[in-house]
């Protein structure tokens, strides 16, 4: 037998489930850090380059990019059932935790101290999202076209409150075509 497939180790569905469970349950405030640590450093299922490649591919696609990465890793090592086991580990636990929080919120969310704490936390959470936007915008190229598309998306969806599907349908083809032409 030739050893050509030795780069793809044999990974069981249980191992996929457990690894993605551990990644997601460690992921307070984002799971990207833990995904790299779990897949590249602990399990050595992926090299750093493979991890970045899969993540880039996941970023290109709709949906959370770490979920797309989860599907790709699960599928690569154990086919469809591997992808299913990975997704079950990755989304199953957070679903249960978050619904548990929903139960508490429905029971105690109206109590004054809880309400005050939640209001304060929400103010910070909005700031955290805004900080992410600032970080991303800092690496945008200093040319007018990307900024124009960003402003149009913000005004259409955030100020005019038009439906996202319409705004994306109108902007995305032009934005991609412009980026395509720039490459040539």
């Amino acid at each position: 037998m030739e050893q050509t497939q030795s780069q793809t180790p044999c990974v069981s569905r249980l191992a996929l489930f457990l690894t993605f469970s551990r990644i997601t349950l460690s992921g307070f405030g984002g799971v990207m850090f833990w995904a790299r640590r779990g897949l590249v450093e602990r399990q050595r299922w992926l090299t750093d380059k493979e991890f970045v490649d899969l993540l880039t591919l996941g970023q290109l696609l709709p949906g959370p990019n770490v979920l797309n990465l989860t599907v790709m890793v699960g599928y690569r090592f154990a086919g469809w059932t591997g992808a299913a086991a990975s997704v079950a580990g990755f989304l199953g636990w957070p679903c249960l935790v978050v619904i548990g929080m929903g139960v508490l919120y429905q029971h105690y969310g109206a109590l004054p101290p809880v309400q005050q704490a939640l209001a304060g936390m929400s103010t910070v959470a909005a700031g955290l999202l805004l900080a992410t936007v600032v970080k991303l915008a800092l690496v945008l190229p200093r040319r007018w076209r990307p900024w124009l598309f960003g402003m149009l998306a913000f005004v259409g969806v955030g100020v005019m409150r038009w439906p996202l599907l319409g705004v994306m349908g109108a902007l995305a083809p032009f934005a991609v075509a412009a980026a395509w032409k720039e490459q040539e």
Partner: protein, 175 residues
């Protein structure tokens, strides 16, 4: 929430997930529009609080979508908003993964990413302003939000500490 059409909710989220390039924060303005403004199923403040709860929980940030579905209609609502999320992830991801292995140097992928990144940033900015308007009633709230931005950009602290600080500020009545 007495006459919530779960089928319509499912289809709306299915359509949203296919344009959610850049992650779950980009569809927040449209979810807010659908749930708070058009169908008036919850208040803007409730929406922001649910978003915050999901940020505190472990796991990917996308869980706010599950919690909104659950708040609307229990387990069935959570399923109606969460299951559509898996559809593009399983179909498109595997399709594109396959194409990428066959044509690793295709520049169309790069053009899509470069073209859509600014739109993603604009949509996330819209999300942040919607949340700020939902939770901040006067200048003190906006000040705390902006202080958060300044701290995140300057200090490598875990965001959970900032959220805990926000909870404290709320309890002592600063917000």
């Amino acid at each position: 929430m007495d006459r919530l059409d779960l089928g319509a909710l499912f289809l709306h989220f299915l359509a949203l997930w296919f344009v959610a390039v850049g992650g779950p924060s980009t569809i927040l303005p449209d979810i807010h529009r659908y749930v708070v403004e058009v169908n008036q199923l919850m208040t803007s403040a409730q929406f922001a609080e649910i978003y915050t709860l999901a940020q505190v929980a472990p796991g990917p940030n996308v869980m706010y979508v599950t919690l909104i579905g659950w708040q609307l209609a229990g387990w069935a609502g959570a399923a109606a908003t969460t299951i559509p999320l898996l559809v593009p992830a399983t179909t498109l991801t595997l399709l594109v993964g396959h194409l990428n292995e066959r044509y690793p140097n295709a520049s169309i992928g790069r053009a899509i990413r470069r073209g859509l990144t600014p739109i993603t940033i604009g949509l996330m900015f819209a999300s942040a302003t919607i949340l700020m308007r939902a939770v901040n009633h006067d200048w003190r709230g906006y000040l705390i939000s902006l202080l958060t931005v300044a701290l995140v950009l300057r200090k490598p602290w875990n965001p959970l500490w900032l959220l805990a600080g926000g909870a404290l500020a709320g309890i002592v009545g600063l917000v």
